[in-house]
């Protein structure tokens, strides 16, 4: 009895060892991500494309819920059980992980040359010396409109601010459509789709954003207050009871064809495409015809390497591929509205997504002004901007008061290097 047990154990261990050896030939890399919506795309398109070219490396995409991702990832990294590759949130959340030594420095990765400075900004240290995640995608702000609505009132697609308000007036006079689909209940709509959408045109994109970080401009300066004045003028064109209108309400109003213009982020494209409406898009209007236009082309997602990974070499092979034009093309086409940050132009088939990305040629891109460095302290500038943008549209605060509140809050903790 004893002998047979021993033999069995020996046999079992040799078989297991054999399996172990076979598995060692194929390295499996685990990807952590918050994009559980993308699971199918990864499994059906992205992973097969990579594995076909790189035999011996297997990829598993294991996403978690978006709201739990940051906390779950931190816990897994601390416990040493995190995947080899991790999706990076933009700015401080990832920077903090890099500073703690959880993410590998990827500055030397060859594929990094495919990305512009702005594209890498969200995953680069403050001094610009080290980049720790490979940029994957960004989202662009603009306005999506219902073509039928504009045809009905005989309006042209607006280029300047005056034309924009003229179109809104026509829509309001006609009365069939709610001119603008936006609410202030959730607040971030007012800040992200409102202020950060039209704002860059006034503060001249990167120029103003960098000046704000450097301390040479203040939020109370004209380029930062003017967008609030324009935003305040939106109020009469919003739907009845916009103060209690939530983000899903706005989406529904637009996809049901009850609203004409939707201040948008490009991530809406795939949802809006399912509505069966004829849609077009235009960039944030400029002050005078012929002025340079600025768009918010905000870095949203990147991929980093877990510093504790056992398969760094293989993971770097994968990251090089993520930095390639091939990945950019697969990703951007599978997820219209999430645009590749790769400098190589990507051919996209979705007309609305194409329209959005075409603005990269004609307009200067920037990122949301509050994301880099300025939202590190208390009070948090991004959260305050949400509240104040909603206040300005609701008429609770004048644009000047709102700007002053934001600047005072920022001054209380942020001391720009002189």
């Amino acid at each position: 009895m004893y002998r047979t047990t021993l033999q069995g154990a020996l046999l079992a261990s040799s078989i297991l060892a054999g399996i172990g050896a076979a598995a060692a030939a194929d390295v499996t890399l685990n990807i952590e991500s918050w994009r559980n919506d993308d699971l199918q795309i990864w499994q059906e398109k992205i992973i097969p494309a990579f594995e076909a070219k790189n035999p011996g490396i297997k990829i598993t995409f294991s996403p978690s819920a978006p709201t739990e991702y940051n906390a779950a990832l931190n816990a897994k990294l601390d416990a040493g059980s995190a995947g080899d590759l991790v999706a990076c949130r933009p700015f401080d959340t990832s920077l903090q992980l890099f500073d703690k030594g959880k993410l590998e420095d990827l500055t030397a990765l060859a594929g990094m040359k495919n990305f512009s400075e702005v594209a890498k900004a969200a995953w680069t240290t403050d001094d610009g010396a080290k980049t720790f995640c490979v940029p994957m995608a960004s989202v662009i702000h603009g306005f999506i409109y219902n073509k039928e609505a504009l045809e009905k009132v005989g309006a042209e697609v607006p280029k300047t601010v005056d034309q924009f308000f003229a179109v809104l007036d026509k829509l309001k006079a006609d009365g069939t459509y709610i001119p603008l689909a936006m609410g202030t209940k959730d607040m971030w709509e007012a800040a992200t789709m409102g202020y950060q959408n039209i704002g860059p045109t006034y503060w001249k994109g990167e120029e103003g954003r960098k000046a704000l970080i450097a301390g040479t401009q203040k939020l109370t300066d004209e380029p930062w207050v003017e967008p609030y004045r324009v935003l305040a003028k939106w109020a009469p064109y919003l739907g009845d009871g916009f103060e209690a209108q939530t983000y899903p309400d706005s989406q529904n109003l637009f996809t049901l064809g009850r609203a004409a213009i939707y201040p948008a982020g490009s991530w809406e494209i795939s949802l809006f495409n399912t509505a069966g409406l004829k849609l077009g898009a235009f960039p944030p209007p400029v002050a005078k015809d012929g002025d340079t236009c600025y768009i918010s082309d905000h870095n949203d997602i990147a991929m980093g390497l877990n510093a504790a990974s056992a398969h760094k070499e293989e993971a770097k092979v994968f990251l090089e591929w993520v930095a390639s034009a091939e990945f950019a093309s697969i990703y951007a086409n599978a997820l219209p509205g999430f645009f590749s940050l790769n400098s190589t132009a990507v051919d996209m088939t979705d007309p609305l997504a194409k329209e959005f990305v075409s603005w990269r040629e004609s307009c200067k891109p920037t990122i949301r002004s509050t994301y880099q460095i300025l939202s590190r302290g208390t009070p948090n500038l991004e959260n305050e901007t949400w509240a104040e943008s909603a206040n300005v549209i609701n008429g609770t605060d004048t644009p000047e008061v709102a700007a002053k509140k934001l600047q005072d809050g920022l001054d209380s903790w942020y001391k720009p290097a002189k």
Binding site: D92, K185, D186, G241, A244, N380, N391
Partner: protein, 316 residues
């Protein structure tokens, strides 16, 4: 002498053997309660005296409290949340409890038809989850899809409808009333039980003395259920100052518009766990939690020592 004491002890234990079963039966509850309530409570109190300075977790004494009350921004947020919390509590005391008492009085009327149905109907919202209640009321009050504009239109009051949840003047009142709607069942049930326990003899004696109707309610029944009302008040107080979920589901973590519905619970949540780009600050969060604990402790003490001792109880 030295030998005497242990002997006495032995004698005593012989007379009254230690009843171990008490400890054994209490142990699971004590253990679980300590693990999930008492330890975290002390850990929170301790955490409020620490902060992160230059990456080190160090003891800072009361400086977190100094920041909370001294820094104009922290103080403004805190007093705003505390003020809103008092409004929230007052609305509950003024609306929920009187209506609860009234409903209980009506339900306890002899000969009321469908009493069981009403009782269940009024109590049902209390059993619903906050998420469901918040979501239902957000939809009911929605200016776009809601039934309330339509219902008000039916009775010609459409002009009085406003997007209440979105206006800083009315949002807090609206949220409070939703909470009242949800919890009206609790005072109703407690008072109902208290009213039922009033002996028939007392009521009959009152009737013989000619006290009936309203007079009977205010002079006989109400004094007899006062202890129950006291309990309800303190439950409401503790519940309201710990409240968080309803505001979070209806108005989000920023408790908009313009922090008009921010109560201590949401303020604590934002500070402790962070929100969006705001990173969580566990020390300041623990500081706010400590203050909330002290507020509730003070309130409960005032009730226990100031009010409950003076309430007269009647033995029948």
């Amino acid at each position: 002498m030295t030998d005497l004491a242990p002997e006495l002890g032995v004698e005593a234990s012989q007379r009254r053997p230690r009843r171990w079963h008490i400890f054994v039966f209490l142990a699971p509850a004590v253990f679980i309660y300590t693990a999930v309530m008492i330890l975290p409570l002390f850990e929170t109190l301790r955490q409020s005296l620490f902060n992160v300075v230059d990456g080190e977790h160090v003891f800072v004494g009361f400086s977190n409290f100094a920041t909370l009350f001294g820094d104009p921004r922290w103080a403004a947020d805190f007093w705003n949340a505390l003020g809103n919390n008092f409004v929230f509590f007052l609305i509950h005391m003024m609306v929920q409890n009187p209506i609860g008492v009234a409903l209980a009085a009506l339900l306890s009327l002899p000969g009321l038809r469908f009493a069981a149905f009403y009782r269940t109907a009024f109590f049902l919202p209390t059993l619903l989850s906050f998420v469901i209640v918040g979501f239902i009321w957000k939809l009911i009050l929605s200016p776009i899809w809601g039934v309330s504009p339509w219902l008000m239109d039916l009775v010609g009051l459409k002009a009085l409808f406003a997007p209440w949840l979105g206006r800083s003047g009315s949002a807090l009142i609206a949220v409070s009333l939703v909470s009242v709607w949800q919890f009206i069942g609790i005072p109703m049930m407690l008072i109902y039980a208290a009213l039922l326990s009033i002996p028939e003899e007392v009521i009959e004696a009152a009737e013989i003395d000619g006290i009936t109707g309203w007079g009977q309610f205010f002079k006989i029944k109400l004094p007899l259920v006062l202890p129950a009302i006291g309990i309800i008040s303190i439950l409401t107080f503790v519940g309201n100052f710990n409240a968080f979920d309803l505001v979070y589901t209806m108005q989000g973590a920023l408790a908009g518009p313009d922090k008009a519905t921010d109560i201590l619970g949401t303020f604590l949540y934002r500070t402790f766990f962070g929100f969006q780009l705001q990173l969580g600050d566990q020390s300041m969060g623990a500081t706010i939690a400590t203050i909330m604990f002290l507020i509730i402790l003070t309130g409960v003490c005032i009730y226990l020592f100031g009010i409950q001792r003076r309430i007269r109880r009647y033995q029948f």
